[in-house]
Amino acid sequence: MKIRKSATTSVDKIEQQMTPMIDIVFLLLIFFMFSFKIASPEGDFNIKMPVASQVTTETETPAIPIKVRLRADAAGNLAAIVMNDRDLGTDFGQLQLQIISIVGGDAGPGSAADTTECELECDYHLRYETVIEVITAISGYVEGNQIVKLIQKIRFSPPRNSR
């Protein structure tokens, strides 16, 4: 008598080939690791410099003018901050106090902070870092975790001492 092998006795284990998948996964991992860069967050200061044709057609109410002149030394470092013909030295804090004294704690639409416009007149060779420091002092400060906004309308007048 012929005895047949029972189908239940032999369980064939089918093993999948994992090696190609692991290879691809490691390649992906290496790709993402090399593409990864730790970048610190960046922000912007809005500058409105409309083209000449737009300036002439604007009929906005005239804003309180603040003129800030930034003088540079031969190396391009800040030599003096002059606000409305008043020399403030090189102290950004002093500049900010002056701005706060003009704008005050007034905020919101139609407020002094909203309508006041500041014109920056820089020496050609002044370092850009200084310009941003001055714009920071003019546009606000941080109190706790909140930003207190000061002047938001900032524009540049043509640079001085380009030669």
């Binding site: 860069k37 912007d44 850009y128």
Partner: protein, 146 residues
């Protein structure tokens, strides 16, 4: 006659499952953090720092990033050009905007200038953009925690 017992070959297979799990988690981590938009940030440019520079809450509609190096040259569209030679790339940006039914006035030019760039050159750059019809600008700075 004596027969030797045939040795059993034992194949030790390590359990790969935890390693694959961990690798997939690492891939997911790097994929989520990878920002392809950072391609427009040239790493040679050192941005000035400001406590007020915080990422905007809403994305800008039509941003154009122009970078100014410490050599006072401009990086735009993968090219390094002097400030005076910006007319052609800006015309290309203008055409790209018009193909999307937008005007240059709708776009915002973000200037990523190096700390050592000259203020006068930044203004020349703004002037060149104004000539091309752009009117909204953003001076980019790196966030500095107090």
């Amino acid at each position: 006659m004596r027969f030797k017992k045939q040795k059993e070959i034992v194949c030790a297979e390590p359990d790969m499952t935890p390693m694959i799990d961990m690798t997939f988690q690492l891939i997911a981590f790097f994929m989520v953090l990878l920002n392809f938009g950072e391609g427009e940030q040239d790493q040679t440019i050192t941005l000035p720092k400001s406590v007020l520079a915080r990422p905007p809450d809403t994305p800008t509609e039509a941003p154009i990033v122009v970078q100014l190096t410490r050599r006072n040259t401009v990086l735009i569209g993968g090219e390094e050009l002097p400030v005076t030679a910006l007319a052609a790339p800006l015309a290309r940006e203008r055409a790209a905007l018009q193909s999307k039914h937008m005007e240059p006035a709708d776009a915002t030019i973000f200037i990523r200038a190096d700390v050592d760039a000259k203020a006068g050159v930044v203004q020349e750059l703004i002037q060149q953009c104004q000539t091309a019809g752009f009117g909204k600008f953003g001076l980019r700075a790196k966030n500095e925690d107090q």
